[in-house]
């Protein structure tokens, strides 16, 4: 039996926080993948800074607790140096679509074979509820006391346009569905992105709203335009896979089937290369 994925560290998320649903789904997904033959030691995780990042401390998996916004950059470096790793980058909406937007888009552009799980709670929870790049207009927080005057990004259309080859949306209160999405994302070869709708009970408690609006996608939309329409539907928050494509992955285009960690030339080999004609 697989060992416990918990660390025993005191959990400091608020009672009812959507992050619990994500943590449990991740544990369950990895458990199922290991049961089906994946090596637990091949999983590696990273994250940015924010409430989402605490998941790093609650998961007994190797990796690095990164800088705010930079988790997905760090994840790419981890993957490139050892392509055998299954790298999961956890990001918040402020983290992955604000401070670190460039890394999110470029990871998708490169079809880097990693998974980004976006904890979308629609605000900056840990820093006491300021508006985020995904907050709706009118959102009132400490930095926008009169209400946000910006329009939000739509994460899924953004990621589709950037070239993500697997794009899905889950809901922290639908843990079984979310688990399935995470398994599919980790099995996908290429950049996989899951936007997880995650209520913030302290600053953006949208449980009721989400429960009312969520609707499961029945099939994967056949065109990108249709996927974007569904992802932006004002009346429904569609859950499921919006796009799944088999496309060449960055590390294989860079070095084929080599593994730089295992195949690195040793000192004598380097001397030979240096003095070769």
């Amino acid at each position: 039996m697989m060992r416990d994925l918990g660390t025993g560290k005191e959990n400091t998320w608020c009672t009812g926080c959507g992050n619990f649903g994500i943590l449990n789904a991740v544990k369950k997904a990895i458990g199922e993948l290991v049961e089906n033959g994946s090596k637990l030691s091949d999983f590696a995780i990273t994250c940015g800074i924010g409430c989402h990042g605490k998941i790093f401390d609650y998961l007994a998996l190797s990796g690095i607790y990164g800088l705010h916004g930079r988790g997905t950059a760090t994840a790419q470096g981890m993957k490139l140096a050892n392509p055998a790793l299954k790298v999961i980058s956890f990001g918040g909406d402020g983290d992955s679509l604000g401070e670190g937007l460039e890394h999110t888009l470029f990871a998708a552009k490169r079809n880097m074979d990693i998974t980004l799980i976006l904890h979308n709670n629609g605000n900056y929870g840990l820093t006491t509820g300021q508006f985020s790049p995904l907050s709706e207009p009118g959102y009132k927080g400490l930095s926008t006391p009169l209400g946000s005057i910006e329009k939000p990004f739509r994460a899924i259309p953004l990621l589709l346009e950037a070239g993500a080859s697997f794009v899905a949306r889950g809901f922290s209160a639908r843990p079984d569905h979310l688990t399935e999405l995470i398994i599919a994302a980790l099995n996908h070869k290429g950049f996989s992105f899951i936007e997880v709708m995650q209520p913030c009970v302290s600053y953006n408690n949208n449980y009721a709203y989400l429960n009312q609006k969520v609707k499961l996608l029945e099939v994967i939309p056949t065109t990108q335009a249709h996927a974007i329409d569904l992802a932006s539907d004002p009346d429904h928050v569609y859950l499921g896979v919006f796009s799944r494509k088999n496309l060449p992955v960055y590390h294989e285009l860079l070095y084929g089937s080599a593994n730089p960690q295992k195949d690195r030339p040793d000192y004598l080999h380097r001397q030979d290369i240096l003095h070769a004609k």
């Binding site: 697989m2 060992r3 660390t7 560290k9 090596k39 637990l40 030691s41 091949d42 590696a44 990273t46 800074i49 790093f56 401390d57 007994a60 998996l61 190797s62 990796g63 690095i64 607790y65 990164g66 800088l67 930079r70 950059a73 760090t74 994840a75 790419q76 470096g77 981890m78 993957k79 490139l80 140096a81 050892n82 055998a84 790793l85 460039e102 890394h103 470029f106 860079l254 070095y255 080599a258 730089p260 960690q261 295992k262 195949d263 690195r264 030339p265 000192y267 380097r270 001397q271 290369i273 240096l274 003095h275 070769a276 004609k277």
Partner: protein
């Protein structure tokens, strides 16, 4: 033997640098000691670029401003360099088509050749005027036309037939005009067999990239910024042969954070930029500090602040390099005093980074990074080794040790079992790598990291931390390309001085420098406020008699510097 200099000038886009490279490489293959410096502007077409190639039978440490052979492609170059003839025997060949106002030079000989007309006759539209410089150089050196043709065919791959015709036509025209019969003692072509040699002709950037790779470098992440870009370009070219991966990231922030990700996976990794880009890497530099990530950082300076002057040289970033990142953590900062040193120093620093699990900075400047010189490959360089931990459930990434160094393991590597958890953390952390804000835990982890510093100081003493050039006279402290300028100037200075070249800056090489305590010294640096002065005074009880400061982006001409030194010594 005298030192000779060839200067080629023209517009950006005319192939000035390429022609100078071919000239420099030809001299190098002939067995000469060569130094090539390129003066260029941040533009693609037009403006004025020139490249200087100085050579001798003994080491040349920097380029000279006065030329024995000057080749100008246009009026602007002709005028800009009309005072730059070394002596009465010097020759200025210019493109008479593009130089309506040619005048007899104050000294030396001039020869106008219709380089554009000849080009049109052979190529029709297009053509490559830079070949003319190579032809004139070959004739001036007394090298045979057959060798010129071979070099042109090898170095200029597009339109080879027309290139050879044009090169031959210029060679013949210049011969008819009476050039040739060089005064320079010469031997048969080629003098040395490159295949069996341990000599290379490389820029400082190429040397540090290659040295780091020989010492174990696997990955390089960067965003282009002059004068660091050619590290990226060079390593990218070596992907297939050297199994080194150079990634042009979306920004410096991406580069630095990707690099630390690769370190977590066990790759020997480097990043590089100039001041502005390096500033963007600062937070990740601190990340390397707290996570104890061995990370090699190349910082190639240019005049600042901000965008500054993109393509010229400066040493303004000394305090920036020494104080890189926020927070307290151990680091090593060192500056090579030549492209040759850059090769070995890069390997030394990578190895030290992995031994002590800390970020290290190799500080250079445009003149050192982008100028090229003969490089003798050293027999050995240090190899970046890993102190391996023991896999299993009791493994802790930040285990508290007496040395402060916690053994490493890498996720997904072959010896890792399912119970091994390797957690790096940007927060202050427990030995397990889990986050903490507990007072005692903070103290324990800071103390662990700080314990590395004394050992780092001792370990760096394995290497030459200070180089001394000269036996007697006033000590002149410098670092980076300042040392190169002083070494060349010393050849022409009637008064003796000792160059004290600071290579390791942090930790400060107190042991080597204690002999200067209480003494008078001179300093030289490319800064307007005396960064080096302040740095030395903080660390050493000396009286600074004179500071030679230059901050116009240009390197010193050795003859000019020799005069300055004579005045102040």
């Amino acid at each position: 033997m005298a030192i000779r200099t060839v200067i080629i000038g023209g517009k950006a886009g005319e192939g000035v640098k390429k022609a100078a490279q071919v000239v420099a490489n030809t001299l190098f293959r002939q067995g000469w000691q060569v130094f090539q410096a390129d003066d260029y502007q941040s533009l693609i077409k037009g403006g004025h670029n020139f490249s200087s190639v100085s050579f001798s039978d003994s080491e040349v440490h920097t380029a000279y401003a006065k030329a024995n052979l000057l080749i100008s492609f246009d009026q602007r170059s002709y005028t800009a360099h009309s005072e730059d003839m070394a002596d009465a025997d010097s020759l200025h060949v210019y493109n008479s088509d593009m130089t309506p106002e040619a005048v007899q030079e104050a000294r030396g000989k001039t020869l106008g050749l219709p380089l554009s007309t000849m080009m049109k006759q052979i190529y029709g539209p297009g053509g490559n005027v830079s070949l003319a410089a190579v032809s004139v150089f070959f004739l001036w050196m007394g090298y045979p036309q057959a060798e010129l043709e071979a070099v042109i065919a090898r170095e200029f791959k597009r339109n080879v037939e027309d290139n050879i015709s044009y090169a031959k036509a210029v060679y013949q025209a210049a011969r008819q005009a009476g050039i040739g019969g060089s005064q320079i003692p010469d031997s048969e072509f080629p003098l040395i067999s490159m295949e069996q040699s341990v000599q290379r002709f490389t820029s400082g950037n190429q040397a540090m990239a290659l040295g780091a790779w020989l010492g174990g470098l696997d990955f390089y992440y960067a965003y282009p910024m002059t004068p660091a870009s050619s590290i990226l370009h060079y390593l990218a070219l070596k992907t297939t042969t050297h199994k080194v991966y150079a990634i042009h990231a979306e920004s410096e922030l991406a580069a630095a954070n990707m690099a630390i990700g690769s370190v977590v996976s066990g790759a020997r990794t480097a990043i590089g930029s100039s001041g502005g880009g390096f500033a963007l890497m600062q937070e990740a530099f601190s990340l390397a500090g707290i996570t104890e990530a061995p990370l090699l950082c190349f910082l190639a300076s240019r005049p600042g602040p901000a965008t500054g002057v993109s393509t010229y040289t400066a040493q303004e970033d000394l305090p920036f390099a020494l104080n890189q990142g926020h927070g307290e953590f151990a680091r090593i900062v060192a500056a090579p005093d030549s492209p040759q040193r850059a090769f070995s120093l890069a390997a030394e620093l990578l190895s030290l980074a992995w031994e002590f699990q800390c970020p290290v900075i190799l500080l250079s400047d445009k003149h050192l990074s982008e100028s090229s010189q003969n490089l003798t490959l050293p027999d050995e360089v240090p190899w970046a080794r890993v102190e391996q931990g023991v896999p299993g459930s009791s493994y802790q990434r930040y285990s508290i040790t007496e040395s402060g160094v916690s053994p490493l393991l890498f996720p997904g590597s072959e010896n890792i079992d399912d119970n091994t958890v390797i957690k790096w953390n940007s927060h202050e952390h427990l030995p397990s790598g889990l986050r903490t804000d507990k007072a005692e835990a903070m103290i324990a982890m800071k103390d662990k990291r700080n314990r590395k510093s004394p050992a780092i100081s001792i370990a760096t003493q394995r290497h030459e931390r200070v180089a001394f050039y000269g036996e007697q006279g006033t000590p002149v402290f410098a670092y980076g390309s300042g040392v190169m300028e002083l070494r060349e100037a010393r050849k022409h200075c009637s008064k003796p001085f000792i160059i004290v070249a600071l290579i390791y800056l942090t930790p400060f090489p107190s042991e080597e420098l204690s002999v200067y305590s209480g003494k008078e010294i001179i300093t030289l640096e490319h800064s307007s406020t005396g960064n080096l002065d302040r740095f030395i005074r903080q660390n050493l009880d000396v009286s600074i008699k004179h500071s030679v400061l230059r901050y116009d982006g240009r390197p010193f001409d050795p003859l000019e510097l020799a005069k300055i030194m004579e005045d102040i010594l």
